[in-house]
Symmetry: C2
DNA sequence: TCACCCAAAAATATCGATTTTACTTACAAA
DNA sequence: TTTGTAAGTAAAATCGATATTTTTGGGTGA
């Protein structure tokens, strides 16, 4: 990729992936020296990457004491989801209002791609396509501030999805939901698109919510 | 301050101030070596600070080519303001719904402090108090994601205010507007608080909008 | 005059080593 | 026991130097 030219950006992307995937456990310490060795680079690029990640909430920095993977909690996930629903509803309405033909075509293309990929067999590609699809929906929103914020929340939500580790994905046809949202967007029905998107997130959210609560329970029992 | 213990955080705050105040001109290059000397420290803390700032949109990073102060434009300010109005309206409604006595007391206290300070004679203190006041209004919003985002947008807006350099501040009594918002919030009238807050920002926004447009005109004439 | 290429200069990116800070353990005094 | 203190250890923070990359400026040929 173009953005992996410098060691700093390689470190950024790799550490980011480790946090999002749950490979680095929530609440656990992130040691610079250890990363430095496993990534085979000096401390500077690692520190820079961690600094950047910490202002994206993907890493928590404690002055003079190092870096940590953020804690997770049902409470936090509730806030995250709730914020996302409301902000992204605004973003998609804006996008529907301002989208041009290129915006439409990209949505169509990505929806097709998403349908072509098997979620479990081609997990990496599916993840990337899913993110691209949701980005494409709101990409025509004139405020890049809003779009960037939505994608930041998207990433944090994906982390919760990975950490909740659902035994199996729900049976409801997610691709149908995607199609509904895309159709509403392309039909320039902003309200409907927003409503369906919110519903889509809320359903996924509640499913994960249950997974998380079970884990919490299991942990408490173990103690 | 507590947060200035490390060189990195000193660098962060100082560079941030330089960008927000307009001391570093929009679009101009930010040279590491120059900063390193003027701040009297090594390159590492400076780079870390710049990395952090770049993911807060206060600095633009161009891979392998260094760092720059973000460009400004009327278009961008429009987006920024518009985003802010809508997101902060949500935040203050939430805060009004969830605020506790400590939240109320802090608003009262900060409004008093703000009124006691002269905007031109005690500019630094006024700025800090103004930021604290606006933060206090939304601080009871349960989603720290939303609150943090609002404050990020607040800072970007302050940058525009500093860059627009209004010859004189408008005559309208800003403290009255603040009081109106605070009263509505304390009376638990979320809708009214949101409406007044939006109005407050929009008025300031349009005022700055004019200043910026004039500057644009002046620049074009000079060329 | 203009476009193009190459060498010198400047600036960024990175590393390895040093310094500083925070945490832990051990021990002594109350 | 509890409290306080001091030495030792581990990790982060920082620095100075080196390696890479980009930019600049001048010269050449069409």
């Amino acid at each position: 990729m173009d953005s992996h030219r410098s060691l700093t950006s390689r470190a950024y992307h790799q550490i980011r992936e480790m946090v999002l995937s749950g490979e680095i456990q929530p609440g656990s310490r992130i040691q610079i020296d250890q990363l430095r060795k496993s990534l085979d680079m000096g401390a500077s690029p690692v520190r820079e990457a961690l600094s950047t990640l910490s202002s994206e909430q993907l890493v928590v920095r404690s002055e003079q004491r190092g870096f940590w993977a953020p804690d997770v909690s049902v409470e936090d996930f509730k806030n995250l989801l709730d914020t996302r629903l409301r902000v992204e509803a605004i973003a998609i309405s804006d996008a529907v209002e301002h989208g041009d033909p290129a915006w439409e075509e990209r949505i169509v293309m990505l929806q097709y791609r998403l349908n072509s990929l098997d979620r479990t067999e081609k997990a990496i590609e599916w993840e990337a396509a899913h993110r691209d699809f949701h980005h494409a929906l709101i990409a025509a929103c004139p405020s890049h501030y809003l779009v960037d914020f939505c994608m930041q929340l998207y990433d944090l939500a994906v982390r919760y999805r990975n950490i909740a580790r659902p035994a199996a994905y729900p049976k409801r046809k997610i691709s149908n939901e995607h199609q509904g949202i895309a159709e509403a967007a392309l039909a320039r029905d902003g309200d409907r698109a927003a409503r369906l998107l919110v519903e889509h997130y809320r359903k996924t959210g509640e499913f994960l919510f249950d997974c998380l609560s079970e884990q919490d329970g299991a942990i408490k029992e173990a103690v």
